[in-house]
Symmetry: D2
Subunit: 307 residues, 4 copies
């Protein structure tokens, strides 16, 4: 098997201050579908082009932010292998049995050195609204709102990104695709892939532990980026920056905020990564172009507003 | 390492009747760059967004067609593993030492049950015109012609596609992404991926051995598909069909011919495949929509014109 | 006033065999809005980016085809001037007083030498679902289906296109933008503009009188042409040809049929015409490229299927 | 004739500090073609899709800015009519005989109340690199750089925009398409069309006379806006803002600067205007969204940086 171990980001649980406003945002604007609502009030959503039962979980809470980010593993056997590797590396892993979350099997959970909670799982049910399999049409019904194809990745802020990077590189088999490096060699930001995506997870060095910079949704094209920008202005949504392009990953992008203040991204494009490719490296004096290729300068919000 | 073994199609060697006309086609129209010319007259080209030294080799000959298709393997060690697996399965493998081809290390070559010659290699030099690595710009110079990003895949016609499919699935670790199946269960066409692409290799059942249906180049978007169509008509190039969309892979596409009669494709889009995804299956009564989603019918050329 | 006289195609009345199927087609697929239904069962629709009350009228009948095509004139005074010019040229003009059609003032109607009924009017109410005027947003609600911006033009087939062309050029002030001319000088097809569009009306020489080749809707871009093609295949609509490009006008296009067999077009792009521009002329041996720039050949349907 | 009088912006003469740098900008980046160089060192350029001999004139000078903006009139007879109208209105008109400028006939020139010099002309030669006329292909050679289709319009800053607006509306037959109006009724900005474009000329109230805000070039699509942004960053060009969208005109846009500090725009899209359409009006508290629909706020440069 050419692809094994950790396959992709599976789901992210996000804290929102008001579920009604959050649903208008994630369902009506971004275009996700609600697939289930839990007894505890959590709402499970997925994008129209995802097979798995859900990829975004909204939980009403007093503070915004991310509860956890989960990765899908290729098989239960490989989940066992990763479990053992994590334990051997001294990582405290908790196993959550099936039942707590609809459609998902047993989950392994641990706290990374940056303070973020991650999960690994191998089993999840397929939702019937996912892509067709027999004589498949493009979609069941026309995509809605920003027409998000999938939940794609998260950018997380934390203190010990060297530790987290080592965990993902050495134990979980991620590759580094790009990095921003200070003159003294300190890695300021690192972009990690478990697949051929330019990033499945990104980490930025930051004073606080466990912060969320953004959760990102894939759109089909630059055309859909423009359409998403139209929707954001039409409905007076809070926008951070964009439409623009990242130097890192080459993705075309808009950063914006959900009604609770969690930053979202919609992006398209970017290159295909293979593990034999050179790591792309940015120096701190080019960090403006690295982050925002068109503006060639960071805005203050990029470095300071996290949840 | 999440991705291992065979990584991707590396290079394809194509026979052309007239090198001057072929270069106008592949260099000036498709937009590849010439990186080297061999003492034997072969011309080595690559797309602007490829790291590796070359991905297309043109050889002047009396008949069009494909000499061989080579796959890049993740490491020399994994090349050894695949070598042993092939031998264990009774495949006759020849090792070609470095020297015959610029920038490429040792190569393993074998004939698949469909009669096609394949190669495996792990070592190839990077060409300096490839993507930048330090504070990388989008490109060195503006992409040219159809702005092909990379050589992407081949569709091959042959008799024993069951045998070839087994070789790629069982020995080389490819996944089946889609298939067309006759009412009696015969697989008419199979689409194979060694990565997250919807296809790295496709095989169609055919009476003759060793035939080339098309070699395919990735473009950035539907916009660039339209631009490629403009170029084809402007320069009176021979077009088979398109712009259209495939049901299989969902790729947006044009089939056209090089001056020697080899079919080319430019395509964009299509889904991301993961090995835990269901295999998409088409019945023969839907094969029109499977191949040409917009026309919903095959044209005669699709089944009969090969080189 | 720089633009005067006839401004644009205003509305077209189309005969459909089944109103329910027609509404699914024009409203749900093309994306028009129903603005009114008459006591006589006629349904009035408009595109989301049109100010005027309606641009398409559907009338249930036993045969498909076009009842009439109406042009909006800049003012009631200019309507009087055109009335007199038509009478002076010997054209039989009937005046229809307000009341027969919602929101529209008096209408002048006449039969052109090709046998088609045309109308001229100067007064029509604005529909509140049209473009906003005060601090205008892009649209009230997200465009639907194929996201048609406006009813754009008709291509009509008839016998005496020389006579019709003279009427539109000499009396109504249209410019010829393009034409297809046979070796003996016969004009096979003529494209006429009353504005800066590459065509507001097109006429093709044909044995029968009064035939409709297609009614056309403007889309925003080639991207939306692709999206329209997706919708047509997804919902198994009957397609004639496309996505492709016209050599004439350079428009990017799909021809398809409504459930009654009336040909529709969605198109985007094309150049801006000014009356001081040279007339573009195609010879009959290039007519394939003129009509379908990518295929470079007519299909039989183009010349024979009309309603 | 439906379109008469002033047809369109014909050419603009721009002062540049260094001709070599200016040519790299306008020719290699924006993609204009040099059609002639005068004995006085002026360089005449045009976009690939323009028929007329030139549309941009570069003049080396010590200060940037605009020398004059010229409009093409439909015929010499209509030029005489406009001459008389201007004289009757008390405008001082100078007639420049043919000879001063290649390919152009007699020119009328006058100073508007905002202090800007305008010209009117009816005769200009066609350049052979313009659009083809007989069996026309899309273009002679593939468009270059940002692939500008045409010089489109200027936005000018001046004091007496009421006077200039009256001149263009009442004497030259322009329509007002949009305006920004202060609570006291003062018109802050006015957008004027002599055709079906959303603007052929725009005027903003400003303390100084005769200032240039930007000269604008039309691109084909939002896709080409993104491509233009890529070029700007790749070649480290000075960008003001964008890619974004205007609320006014709905055009998708980037503002950037030539090496002399003159602001340029590339834009695409926007609606089609007809003289019977309502005037779209923005209040000053919505001026952010009017100018930059995505940012919903002006940047300082928009109001202050002019040449």
């Amino acid at each position: 098997m050419a692809i094994s171990g950790v396959l992709r980001p599976g789901y992210v649980q996000v804290r929102v201050l008001d579920m009604k406003a959050a649903l208008e945002h994630y369902r009506d604007r971004i275009g996700l579908d609600v697939v289930a609502t839990g007894n505890d009030g959590r709402v499970f959503l997925k994008a129209y082009d995802e097979f798995d039962h859900h990829s975004v979980i909204l939980r009403e809470a007093d503070e915004p932010g991310m509860d956890f980010l989960a990765f899908k593993v290729a098989s239960e056997g490989e989940l066992d292998v990763l479990h053992e590797k994590l334990l051997n590396a001294g990582v405290a892993v908790e196993e959550i049995p099936p039942g707590d979350m609809p459609a998902v099997g047993r989950r392994l959970t641990f706290i990374a050195p940056t303070g973020h909670r991650f999960e690994l799982f191998a089993t999840i049910g397929l939702d019937p609204t996912g892509p067709m399999v027999n004589n498949p049409e493009l979609w069941h019904a026309e995509p809605r709102g920003m027409r998000a194809l999938r939940f794609d990745h998260c950018l997380l802020y934390g203190d010990d990104i060297d530790g987290a990077k080592a965990l993902f590189n050495d134990i979980l088999g991620f590759s580094t695709t790009e990095q921003v490096v200070a003159p003294d060699g300190t890695v300021i930001a690192t972009f990690l892939s478990c697949s051929t995506k330019a990033h499945d997870l990104a980490l930025v060095r930051h004073d606080e532990k466990g912060k969320l910079h953004h959760i990102s949704f894939l759109l089909e094209s630059w055309n859909d980026i423009g359409h998403a920008a139209d929707i954001m202005s039409r409905y007076e949504m809070s926008v951070d920056i964009g439409p623009t392009r990242h130097g890192i990953t080459r993705g075309q992008t808009i950063y914006f905020f959900d009604p609770s203040g969690n930053r979202n991204e919609v992006f398209s494009g970017g290159y295909t990564f293979y593990p034999d490719h050179p790591v792309r490296t940015w120096s701190t004096d080019s960090v403006g172009k690295a982050i925002f290729y068109y503006e060639r300068a960071l805005n203050d919000r990029f470095m300071t507003v996290v949840t």
